[in-house]
């Protein structure tokens, strides 16, 4: 299907059947167990310029489960980045040490640039070192979207025909933007729940309209709680608000506790890309509909599938 040496930079680079292939591969790995010889002798570089718990550790876990070694840095402290080394120079260097690079970087578009750098190396006779984007600034985080879709599919048995509500910071949250783009490939009903100041941006609305995707906008969780199949919560990011009063006006509105969650369908699932602050109260964790920790766990099979496909260990 053309995954070998492919850069994973944007969810928009993928077709529905390609995503389905990744999910089927991940599903098989979960079911049959990980083959610890599959990536034996391969090296994965984990270049995390910014903090990460789930993305870095699940890539690390996935690589080790398949027998690959990882070499990494987490935070630029102790690297030549502190001396002003450019991303290009770091990538040119690390590409000599590894077979694949997973990268999180603060600047938008850094993953595409890193991918261009390793593609250009091939013109000098080097092998292609594919880049997997683990989050580039406020731009994209495609493997998060893949594991979100995988989680939806796993819990509901399908993606088509579902009602999916996204709640919280829809304006700045890159996960809901990428998820919206990905869900446009499926036949879903989307519901966006946010205060006016944090509603889904105009360019996403334009995209959805152009692709004839059904969506509605809401200002209260109560509007969607009893009909949604998936409730996708996001953190309202305090640092995005021009003043604290504005933040205080909206922060309390978008919270889910166990009592509110009990009004959801028994088959519904509450998801969150994590970390949470206080938008999901701890008492909701015990409800069977709370799925965010399992969702984070799905990062391992999805990322294991991606590593295997991109490194050509399986087709």
């Amino acid at each position: 299907m053309g995954f070998v040496n492919r850069d994973i930079v944007s969810i928009k680079d993928f077709k529905k059947e390609e995503l389905e292939h990744i999910f089927k591969t991940a599903e098989k790995m979960e079911k049959d167990g990980y083959d610890s010889t599959l990536l034996r002798g391969r090296k994965v570089g984990l270049l995390f310029y910014e903090p990460s718990t789930r993305t870095r550790m699940s890539f690390d876990a996935a690589a080790h489960a398949l027998g690959a070694e990882t070499i990494w840095f987490a935070g630029v402290e102790g690297t030549s980045v502190m001396k002003g080394e450019t991303l290009k120079d770091t990538i040119e260097t690390v590409a000599n040490y590894v077979d694949l690079i997973v990268m999180r970087h603060p600047f938008d578009g850094s993953a595409r640039w890193a991918a261009d750098v390793t593609t250009n190396r091939t013109k000098r006779g080097h092998k292609k070192v594919p880049i997997i984007n683990g989050g580039d600034g406020k731009n994209e985080h495609p493997t998060q979207t893949m594991l979100d879709l995988y989680s939806i599919r796993k819990t509901q048995g399908r993606i088509d025909g579902l009602e999916i509500a996204m709640v919280g910071d829809l304006k700045y949250g890159r996960t809901v933007h990428s998820l919206s783009y990905a869900l446009s490939m499926y036949d879903c009903k989307l519901k966006y729940v946010a205060p006016d100041s944090l509603q889904i941006p105009e360019h996403i609305e334009t995209f959805l309209n152009r692709n004839h995707i059904q969506f509605t906008k809401h200002s209260k969780i109560e509007d969607i709680i009893s009909s949604a199949d998936i409730i996708y919560m996001t953190r309202i990011q305090k640092e995005r608000f021009p003043d604290e009063n504005e933040y205080n006006k909206v922060k309390g509105i978008f919270k889910i506790n166990r009592a509110l969650l009990s009004r959801a369908k028994p088959t519904a699932r509450l998801m969150h890309p994590l970390p949470r602050v206080d938008e999901i109260s701890v008492d909701a964790d015990e409800d069977l509909r709370a799925y965010y920790f399992e969702q984070a766990g799905n990062g391992v099979p999805v990322r294991a599938a991606l590593l295997s496909l991109v490194m050509g260990a399986i087709e």
């Binding site: 944007s10 928009k12 450019t86 991303l87 290009k88 970087h105 603060p106 600047f107 938008d108 578009g109 850094s110 595409r112 640039w113 580039d136 600034g137 406020k138 731009n139 994209e140 360019h203």
Partner: protein, 160 residues
């Protein structure tokens, strides 16, 4: 036509001598002539440069115009002009006559010509060649190859 001075030029009072060899950039939006001249570094050369501002234009009402002697444009300069003056016409003058007339068009891909308007884009943070794709010419909308940011007309800046 007498040389490269048109009757419209005469009406505009542009009675300066026609240029023998060089380039005439016509149909520049009013007020953008100086900007294009600066961008092309025309003030730093010895040849004759004539800039007309707020001239009458039957097509656009008002326009700016540049005549420069012994200077011909490179393709990257055409691309830069297209971003400032999307309707500009470039006349190449040889021996007082219009040898060739070209209309500028914004190319499909702009390599290292304009700056992505997303301040947090890698192309604005590190020495990275900019690359923008044209998604619409009217109004002008460019999308960044790296960060997918939509750069809209009026905010687009040329690379220094």
């Amino acid at each position: 036509m007498a040389g490269n001075t048109t009757s419209k030029d005469a009406k505009n009072g542009l009675m300066v001598r026609p240029i023998k060899d060089g380039t005439v950039i016509d149909h520049i939006p009013p007020g953008k002539g100086i900007k294009i001249a600066e961008m092309l570094n025309l003030f730093r050369q010895d040849s004759v440069v004539i800039i007309g501002q707020n001239l009458e234009s039957t097509k656009y009402g008002r326009k700016d115009l540049i005549k420069v002697e012994n200077r011909f444009l490179r393709s990257d300069e055409y691309n830069k002009i297209s971003l400032i003056a999307p309707n500009a016409t470039i006349n190449i003058i040889k021996d007082y006559e219009i040898h060739e007339k070209k209309k500028v068009t914004v190319p499909d891909v702009l390599e290292d010509v304009a700056v992505c308007t997303n301040a947090n884009c890698i192309s604005n943070k590190e020495p990275v060649p900019s690359r923008l794709y044209t998604v619409s010419r009217d109004p002008l909308v460019l999308v960044c190859h790296y960060c997918n940011f939509e750069c809209k007309e009026g905010l687009i800046r040329l690379k220094a």
